[in-house]
Symmetry: D2
Subunit: 236 residues, 4 copies
C-alpha cells in the first residue's frame, strides 16, 4: 500500500513528511508561497510601509514562534527532539530576530517597540493557533503546525535568490532565508520531523488514522501564512 501514483515526485530537500503535507494542500501552498507580497519582495515593488508593517508583526510572530518551539522541548520524546527544538529557539531568539531588529532600527523602530507592538488579528490567530496545537495534541500536532513557516520561507528564499530583480531593496530578507545556514537548519528540522513521525506512527504515517488531522493542521497554518501576507499588504 503505497502512494505510488504521484508521478512528478517533487521531493523536497526538507524531507518526506513536508513533501506529503505540502502536496496534500497544493492550492493553499501556492497561495502562500506565490503570494503578491512575495512577488513584491522579488520585484522590489513592495511598498516600504508594507514591508515594515510586516516586519514588526513578524518580529512579534517570532517571539511566539520561539514560545512554540519551547513547547516542543516540553513535548519531545527523545533527546534529539529536545536538542533540535532547543537549537531552534536559540536560532530564533539570537539570530533570525536580529534581521528584524537591524532593519527596524534603520527605520527608527527599536526592539522594545517591536516587543510591545500591538498585534494584528492575523498575528494573534496564527501564533496562538500554533501554541494551542501543542497544548491540544502531542509533539506531532505541534510539528505539523510549525512546518509551513519553516519550510515555506525556505522555498521562498531559494526561489527568490534565483529570480529576484537585481535592484530589489529586499535582498537582505531574501538572503536570510536563501542562506546555507537557514537551508541546512531546515533540512535538519525536516529530518527530525520525518523521524518523529515514523517513531510515533510507523514507517508510512499516511496510513495512521491521525494523518488527516495532521494534514489539516498543516493546511490551516498554511492558510494563516497567506493571511499574514495579506495583513502586510493592507498597510502598503
Amino acid at each position: 500500500m503505497k502512494h505510488h501514483s504521484k508521478t512528478p515526485m517533487d521531493h523536497s530537500p526538507y524531507g518526506q513528511s513536508f513533501t506529503l503535507w505540502r502536496d496534500g494542500c497544493p492550492t493553499a501552498w501556492q497561495d502562500y508561497t506565490d503570494h503578491a507580497f512575495v512577488e513584491g519582495l522579488r520585484s522590489g515593488s513592495l511598498p516600504r510601509a508594507a514591508f515594515l508593517h510586516y516586519l514588526v508583526q513578524d518580529y512579534v510572530f517570532l517571539v511566539h514562534f520561539a514560545r512554540a518551539w519551547s513547547l516542543g522541548v516540553i513535548k519531545a520524546d527523545t533527546l534529539d527532539e529536545m536538542k533540535s527544538c532547543a537549537r531552534t529557539v536559540d536560532a530564533l531568539v539570537n539570530h533570525e530576530m536580529a534581521l528584524h531588529v537591524t532593519t527596524c532600527a534603520a527605520a527608527d523602530i527599536d526592539e522594545a517597540t517591536l516587543f510591545a507592538a500591538t498585534e494584528e488579528f492575523e498575528t494573534l490567530a496564527y501564533t496562538r493557533y500554533v501554541m494551542d496545537a501543542g497544548l491540544h495534541g502531542d509533539y506531532l500536532d505541534l510539528m505539523a503546525a510549525l512546518a509551513p513557516c519553516c519550510f515555506g520561507y525556505g522555498e521562498i528564499g531559494l526561489r527568490l535568490a534565483g529570480s529576484a530583480e537585481p535592484g530589489t531593496p529586499y535582498q537582505d530578507w531574501i538572503k536570510t532565508y536563501a542562506d546555507a545556514g537557514y537551508q541546512n537548519t531546515m533540512k535538519a528540522v525536516g529530518r527530525m520531523m520525518d523521524m518523529a513521525l515514523e517513531r510515533r506512527l510507523g514507517p508510512d504515517p499516511t496510513l495512521s488514522p491521525r494523518w488527516p488531522r495532521l494534514q489539516h493542521r498543516f493546511a490551516t497554518a498554511t492558510r494563516l501564512e497567506s493571511a499574514f501576507w495579506d495583513m502586510g499588504l493592507r498597510a502598503g
Copy 2:
C-alpha cells in the same frame, strides 16, 4: 445607536473588576456591544444567513470556551474557583450549546457538522488567544480574557430584552442571555472574579503592577468580539 454617557457610578451588576475593565476601554467596549450585528438582532434586520454563519462559528467558539474554562479548573487556587469554573464548563457544554444545536437543527445543520465546521480566522484568533492567555499567565490572565464574552453577552441580552422589535426573529437568542439563569450565573462569575483579584492583588487591584496587562487582555478580547461580529456580517 450609542450607549448613553456613563455617570461615574455606573456599577455593573457583574462586579467591580468587570466595571473597571469595561470602563478602561470604553470605545472598544461600545464597538462590541453596540455593533451593527447586535442592532440587527434587535431590529430583526440581520439576514438569516449572517445569523446562521455566526451561530455555527459561535458553536465552535463555545467548544473552545469550554476548553478555556477547563483551563480555569487547572489554574484555580481555591475550591470555590475550581467549582465555579467546573460549573461554567457544564453550563456551556450541556446548556448554552443546546440553543445552537436546536437552532441549527431547524436549518438542517446537525451537531457533528457544527463540531467539524471550518473555523474562520476570527474564531481562531479569539479562541486561541484566550487559551494562550491561560498558558502564558495565571488564573487572572485567563479571567481577564474570558470576561468580555461573559459580561458583554449579559449586557447585550438585557438591553435587547427591553428594546427589541416585537417581530425580530431573534427572540430566542435574546432570551438565552437576558434570562435570569444566565444573568444570575454571570453575577456569580463576577463575584468570583472580584474575589480572585483581591486574593492575588490585594484590595485595590488597580494599584498592582499587573493591572495594565490585565486591562490589555480584557481590551484585546473585547476587540476580538467585535471582529467576531464583523465575521458574522460578512456572510450576510
Copy 3:
C-alpha cells in the same frame, strides 16, 4: 491474598484497553489492588489513623484528579470525549469528594483544612505525573495515566463488596466504589477510552509504535497507586 490466575479471557467490564494495560503489568497491578491497605479495609484491621491520613491525602489527590480530567476536556478531539471528561470533573468535585468531606467532618477535619493539607511526596509524585502526562503527550497519554485509579478502585470496590468482613468500619468507602453509579460511570469511561484509542491508533492499538509508551504510563501510574497505599499505612 492473591488474585486467582487469569484465564486468557478475563475481559474487564471496563473495556479492552484497560484489560490490555492491566494484563501488561500483572505484578504491579496485583501489588496495587491486593495491597495490605486494601486488605485492611476489607478485614477492618486498618488503623483509623491510617485511614484518615489516607483520606486527607486522597482528597488532595481528587483535587488534582479533577484538574487532570479538565486537561482531558482541553485535549479531547470529539464532543463525546469532551462531555465524558466534563462529566467526570463534575462527579469528582460534586460527588466523590463528598465522601471524604463527610467522613473527615466526623473526625473534626473541615473541608478548608482538607484543601490546604500539606501534600505527602507520594501525592505530589502521582498527581503531578498525571498532569504532566497530559502536557507532554496527547489525549491518550493522559488517559493511560488516569486509567489505573479509575478502574483499580472499581475492581477493589467490587471485590471488597463481596468479601468484606461484616464488621469492617470501612463499609462506606467500599460502597462508594462498589456502587452501581460508580461502576456504570467506569464502564462508560472504559468505552470512551476504547474509542479514543481506536480513533487515533486504529482497530488494534497494540500494533502502534506508541503502545509501549502508553503501557509504560499505565504501569507507572499503577506503581504510584501502590506508593500511595504505602504512604497511608505509614501513618497507622
Copy 4:
C-alpha cells in the same frame, strides 16, 4: 512596613528574592544543603554506587529541568526573561548534562541508557511538581519552584570548593558548581528573578498577597531536594 529586623543580613550573591525565600524556610534549607549526601561528596565517603545512582536520576532530572525552563520561555513577559530562560535550556542540554554523560560513560552507562532510566518516585515528584507549578500559576510560580536547585547547588559548590577533603573522588562534581561559569550564570538568574518579581509584585514583593504561596513553592521544592539526596543514599 519593612523586614528591618533581620540583623545578620546574609545577602546571597544570587539576589534578594532568593535570600528572602531561603531565610523563609531555614530548617528545610539546611536539611537540603547540609545533607549527609553532600557531606559524603565533601569528605569522599559517599559510596560510588550511591553517587552513580544519584547521577543517573539527576540526568533524568535535568531533562525535565530543561523542559521546565522551556516553560519559562513560554511564560515570560519580557524579552530579557525569554532570553534568560532560553540560555538556561541551552546550558542544561549542552553543558551541565555533559558532566553526567562523561562520568557515567566512565562507568559504562551510555546516554541512551540515561535518557531511558526508570525514574525513582523522588525524581517524579520533584520534576513534575516544578512543571505543574508553571502550568498552574504564572512565571513567578515557576521561578519559585526552580530557584532551590539553581542556588542550592551554587551554595553547595562554593562551600565544598573551600572545604573538600583533597582526596575526595567527587572533585569534578564540586568544580562543576563552584566554577565561575556556573556561579556567574546563577548571579544573572538571580538578578532576572529579582526583576521578574518587582515587575509583577512591586518593589517589596513580600507585601503582595501572593508572597506566602511563592514562599510555599520554594519550600516545597527545597524539601524535594532533600528527598532526592535521600534517594541517592538509599542506593549506597
